[in-house]
Subunit: 128 residues, 2 copies
DNA sequence: AAGATATATGCTAATTTATGCATGTTTCTG
DNA sequence: CAGAAACATGCATAAATTAGCATATATCTT
């Protein structure tokens, strides 16, 4: 039986105990998301979002993957995934807000443009 | 499907994200414990312990029950119990340190003295 | 009632965390 | 190469949390 390290667990927990970081984690636990999406999701300035991402990344909770100009983040810690499943409920389908943002925000990242060019321009037109 | 309230969840989480409070919760999720025991467990001044207990009590996470001179605290929130099961592991047997403290600390609370008077005095003698 | 014991409360200083913002870096495009 | 787009970093300040300590309250004992 491994002795519990309350310091370590609470340090980890402290990173989750923040509404915006929790929102980020709830998004990236489903699918990897680029910073532009997360920025739209939180509706906060980009440096703010990057700052929260850094904290989570430095702790090894999320991992980044560069794809051209964009950086995609995904949940990389299995333990934290279990915690989130209990605290936020298990992942069911798509993130309720994420699908919305993919429609509304003209983001050039590959994730947003994996469909036909027609659908993209149509999407842009509907925004006015 | 109920919409997630990240503010509420993170506020709750913030209370758990503290090493001493986590230690308290790990104790009281097994059995109700009086303040004197928790004081011994944390090895911190009594006002410090009472302060942490107050935070958890005001949030409805733990509940107090007065028994004469002593106050016993127990985990009262089912949701937090689930969280702790995942974060600290499920409760197996007795708390590893608690049984120790019941032996070493001459506490007059009923929990410590639910055995024969002989055993109590014997315990006191062994401390010198 | 006086003293002792167990616990709670209030206040303050120290520390940590959060937030805002200016600027730096990298990659892509023309 | 110049400019733009996407993201990161550093730093200063504000806000929240922690921790220490004096003191208050309630109960029990004699």
């Amino acid at each position: 039986m491994t002795r519990l390290d309350y310091d370590e667990i609470s340090a980890r927990l402290r990173l989750l105990a923040h509404p915006e970081r929790l929102r980020i984690l709830d998004a990236v636990r489903r699918d990897s998301e680029c910073v532009c999406h997360l920025e739209a999701l939180l509706d906060k300035p980009q440096p703010y979002v990057s700052q929260q991402l850094r904290l989570l990344r430095d702790a090894g909770i999320i991992a980044d993957e560069k794809q051209g100009q964009n950086v995609f983040y995904r949940l990389s810690d299995a333990e934290v995934r279990d915690w989130l499943d209990v605290m936020l409920g298990p992942v069911v389908g798509e993130h309720p807000d994420m699908s919305l943002h993919k429609r509304l925000i003209p983001c050039p990242c590959p994730k947003c443009n994996d469909d036909t060019p027609l659908a993209v321009s149509e999407r842009l037109l509907q925004r006015s």
